[in-house]
């Protein structure tokens, strides 16, 4: 009884924490641009870390109490707290943007709470893969350096990963984009199978390839995509070849019925190409191509047409085609702005709630205002990524933009799909959805942004200097 009362109050606490977190992101951004005194930056980072800890503690207190203080869950809760606090601080300190690290870990933590509520085993698994992804993220500079030298390898690796499901594929929810590889260790008498989603890692290869291409030495750093005028740029090399590679990736994904994945590669290509070349006509051409391809897919593939029709009016067919989206919409809207309170809703009614529809499950129990805050976290990640490369050279900008663009666009696709804004695709919500491949790949992508510089040591020195300046400024505000 008292627990129920606390849960109902906790809805306001969670919302307050999320809004306060967003406000701190805004304060950080303003301080960075000089609109607020510089010490707000440090203060915001600290506040956000505390918010993550508070959110984690409040969420898991409720879940543990509901479970009757289940020992395993309590252990997961404690371990999770240590992980998000230490991991977040570590990630932030070792990279270029503590704001980005905080936002990533807040998302991860919201996901952990929701997964522990839906299925505690998944929560533990998610933490393990997040830790693995975090570990891999520290090798990001190696990957970047490798891509600069032998970018063809990355294009080939991306293609190889995407083709993998044709060889060892498993079909899940109509899409054949999973791979299951049986492993047998004869000497240890162990046999098991490893399954993962190769397209998640293909994305990493792809942006590494593309950013390397667009930043290669013969690419002009001026603002021009001037083919004839300067002869500095090669149409074949910078447009035709990457376009052909992208198109082949998209075709592979469409054949696997992974439309979300196909759209991800398309959008990433357009964004990076636009950023590199700067011609508005690229966007126009992309829109025309997108409309034509969409129209063709609609008439060629039955499942595309069905998906599109159920998006246009999910209420017309609530029992079948519109079932998933209408169930998600019920979840989002039944309980009102503040949600049902953690554990008091019925996310069990939402199909694929742990991955595709986790946003709807979050909105159901935390309320849709909280869901709006989650959206803000992705905007902040994009902002932080772009702001971290301000004043840097093209190579770094291209990479950060590609990685952050992929995270943000993927978030948009699946959030929009959850609420019926865009047709539903089976992509994951980065850092939040259950899925080892997804969370690990998302962390590697964040790692690319965070450690995206040729000289980490130099970067660290600069950061120290900046820190010292900030402190100086902060002292200056103290009355003598």
């Amino acid at each position: 009884m008292a627990l129920d009362f606390f849960i109902i109050i906790s809805r306001y606490i969670f919302l307050f924490l999320a809004v306060f977190f967003a406000a701190n992101s805004a304060a950080y951004a303003l301080a960075e641009r000089g609109a607020l005194p510089a010490f707000f930056k440090r203060r915001a980072v600290l506040n956000q870390r505390l918010i993550i800890a508070y959110t984690h503690i409040s969420g898991f207190l409720i879940l543990c109490a509901k479970s009757g203080w289940d020992a395993r869950l309590c252990a997961v809760a404690g371990g999770g707290l240590a992980f998000v606090v230490a991991g977040g601080a570590f990630f932030g300190a070792a990279g270029s943007s503590r704001l980005l690290a905080n936002n990533v870990f807040f998302l991860l933590d919201i996901g952990l709470i929701m997964l522990a509520r839906l299925n505690p085993a998944l929560c533990l698994k998610q933490m393990v893969f997040a830790a693995a992804g975090l570990g891999l993220a520290f090798f990001a500079p190696l990957l970047i350096a490798a891509a600069r030298r032998i970018r063809v390898l990355f294009a080939a690796a991306g293609a190889g990963l995407l083709v993998l499901p044709f060889i060892a594929g498993v079909t899940i929810f109509g899409a054949t984009n999973w791979v299951q590889i049986p492993v047998s260790l004869k000497f240890a008498k162990l046999s098991f199978s490893v399954s993962f989603q190769p397209s998640e890692f293909a994305k990493i290869c792809y942006i590494l390839y593309l950013s390397s291409l667009f930043s290669s030495s013969d690419f002009i750093e001026r603002d021009e995509w001037s083919l004839r005028e300067r002869g500095l740029i090669n149409r074949n090399k910078h447009l035709i070849i990457p376009a052909a590679i992208t198109a082949s990736f998209i075709i592979i994904l469409v054949l696997q019925r992974d439309l979300g994945g196909a759209l991800m590669f398309f959008t990433t290509f357009i964004i990076m190409l636009y950023a590199a070349a700067g011609r508005t006509r690229i966007i126009g051409a992309a829109l025309i191509m997108f409309a034509a391809a969409g129209r063709a897919a609609y008439s060629l593939f039955g499942h595309v047409a069905a998906r599109f029709d159920s998006w246009r009016d999910p209420w017309a067919d609530m029992a079948d085609g519109g079932y998933q989206v209408t169930q998600a919409l019920f979840a989002v809207s039944t309980w009102g702005a503040f949600g049902s309170g953690l554990t008091r809703g019925n996310p069990a009614f939402i199909p694929v709630r742990e991955s595709d529809f986790i946003f709807a499950a979050i909105c159901e129990e935390f309320g849709f205002f909280f869901g709006v805050c989650v959206i803000f976290l992705y905007i902040t990640i994009l902002y932080a990524a772009l702001s971290a490369v301000r004043g840097r050279k093209t190579p770094e900008i291209a990479l950060s933009l590609g990685a952050a663009g992929i995270i943000a666009f993927q978030a948009f696709l699946i959030i929009g799909g959850n609420i019926g804004l865009v047709p539903l695709t089976g992509v994951t919500l980065p850092f939040v959805s259950a899925g080892g491949s997804s969370v690990a790949a998302s962390f590697v992508m964040a790692g690319l942004i965070m450690r995206n510089t040729k000289n980490i040591k130099l970067r660290a020195l600069e950061a120290e200097k900046a820190e010292a300046e900030e402190n100086g400024e902060e002292d200056g505000y103290e009355p003598e």
Binding site: M1, A2, D4, F5, I8, I9, E221, D223, I271, Y274, A275, A276, G278, W315, M318, A319, T326, Q327, L329, F330, A331, V332, S333, T334, G336, A337, R344, G345, N346, F349, C363, F368, G371, V372, I375, Y378, I379, L382, Y383, L386, R390, T394, I397, A398, L401, G405, A408, F409, F412, I415, G416, I419, G420, L421
Partner: protein, 461 residues
């Protein structure tokens, strides 16, 4: 790469994410109010069991359904008489209990109620809903139906407020859980089917209101015809009831005596386009707007329809189907100067403490007839009770149309009507399954309307 391009990209993302926010907020705050009560939303059945479900009240505040706070049992004071309206609560909830489950289990000032509950154990009460139903009229209708299989429904023509709705065989809502297997397994009697809103039957001669409109609009209002009791349509024959030859009839006479041959010929003269247009205006083949789930009434006529099928369609047989609620809307619009008011059941929502939270206002569904068309149809209806098949209601200020619908068993009986004839206030429909004809429907409508108008007068005084 210049920063300005990055800014363009950042703004692009801000815009698409803003679309998400707008969509969530708009959907949740505006669009979802109706949708969350959909039977597909299983959440409604599982909301906090500690919340005491709010009461369903009639328009005078008398309870139609309430929860006993001591035992927690849901009580339905009207029992079987109110079942079509209240429905029942639970996983497969129906009627008002299902439709308004969201409101009934919602707690106004929830935090305060929960805090009070923690301190002194006072119950957490859900909101109550007040319906447009009048418990007295509802009971009266159920009594007059006298257990006969069929449906009764009545609404105020000028507002669309539904005053009573009965479906027989009925059931006691408080005993649904224990009798579930028997009730849901009774495929013959189908007690859980709300026949008023969801029963689809051939409308029989009540459909002649539609055919008459098609005739009027196609310039055939003056058509006269000599009825010999049967008429040939492409080798097949249409009969009048008992093969009665009505002699020379004009539309008024034919309508009053319900001459099948005349209307079959009228439809042929008017053409299927005029018939289609008239049926469409009366909302055939369209979802019927109502608070409770309804089934779409059906009407099919096109250039390829055979002559006999077209003739059957014109007299409400063949592939024409309608629910009693549908026919109620037809007669109500005809009586209300051609203006169809959306029939509705929910009048207002109030907190458990009685604070009004929401009030529903009458809504126009649309002007489906012109004043002239409405007057024309009213003239026809008046003649029915003056000199026609409804003569037993002579002198009661009621006007309407009888219907006898052939089907596999004995004929269904229909009577759609309104009163007072000169200044329509209330429209009603009586439908009796396999009653052998429309005769048994007339006294039910007559007595009920008289009672209802009497009550209105008492109220006004």
């Amino acid at each position: 790469m210049s920063l300005s391009k990055l800014r363009v990209i950042f703004i692009f993302f801000c815009v698409i994410f803003s679309l998400c926010v707008v969509r969530i907020v708009k959907f949740t705050l505006i669009d979802s109010r109706e949708l969350v009560s959909s039977p597909y939303n299983k959440r409604l059945a599982t909301r906090d069991e500690r919340v005491v479900r709010g009461a369903i009240l009639d328009r005078n505040g008398a309870p139609l359904a309430q929860t006993d706070e001591a035992s927690g049992a849901r009580e339905y004071p009207l029992k079987k008489a109110g079942a079509a309206v209240t429905g029942f609560a639970g996983a497969a909830a129906q009627g008002a209990e299902g439709r308004y489950a969201f409101e009934l289990t919602r707690v106004h000032n929830e935090l305060l109620a929960r805090a009070r509950n923690l301190i002194d154990g006072s119950p957490i009460r859900g909101n109550s809903v007040e319906l447009t139903i009048d418990a007295g009229l509802q009971k009266k209708a159920y009594e007059l139906m006298d257990g006969r299989r069929g449906a009764f429904m009545a609404m105020e023509t000028a507002t669309g407020r539904v005053l009573a709705m009965v479906s027989n065989p009925s059931f006691d809502p408080s005993e649904v859980p224990e009798n579930w297997d028997q009730l849901s397994g009774d495929t013959e009697g189908n007690p859980l089917l709300n026949r008023a809103a969801q029963g689809l039957y051939p409308p029989g001669s009540t459909f002649k209101l539609v055919t008459a409109l098609a005739g009027y609009d196609s310039g055939n209002a003056g058509l006269t015809y000599v009825c010999k009791g049967e008429e040939d349509f492409g080798g097949n024959k249409i009969h009048c009831i008992n093969k009665t030859a009505h002699g020379e009839v004009d539309m008024k006479k034919a309508f009053a005596v319900s001459c099948n041959c005349y209307f079959a010929v009228l439809a042929r003269e008017a053409g299927y386009e005029a018939m289609d247009a008239a049926a469409e205006r009366f909302l055939f083949n369209k979802p019927l707007p109502f608070d409770l789930p309804t089934l779409k009434s059906g009407f099919a006529l096109d250039g390829g329809t055979s002559a006999i099928e077209a003739a059957q369609t014109a007299i409400g047989q063949g592939r024409t189907t309608a629910s009693p609620a549908q026919m109620l809307c037809v007669v109500s619009a005809a009586a209300n100067d051609g203006l169809l008011m959306r029939p509705y059941l929910l009048d207002s929502v109030a907190s458990a403490e009685g604070k009004r939270l929401k009030k529903i206002l009458p809504k126009q569904e649309g002007r489906i007839l012109t004043s002239e068309e409405s007057l024309f149809l009213r003239g026809l209806c008046e003649e029915v009770t003056e000199n026609g098949t409804g003569k037993s209601l002579k002198g009661t200020k009621i006007a309407g149309k009888t219907g006898t619908a052939e089907n596999k068993g004995a004929d269904h009986g229909w009577f759609v009507c309104y009163a007072p004839a000169d200044e329509p206030k209330i429209a009603a429909v009586v439908f009796l399954e396999n009653a052998g004809g429309s005769k048994p429907c007339l006294p039910i409508a007559g007595k009920w309307l008289e009672y209802a108008l009497g009550r209105e007068r008492d109220k006004e005084e």
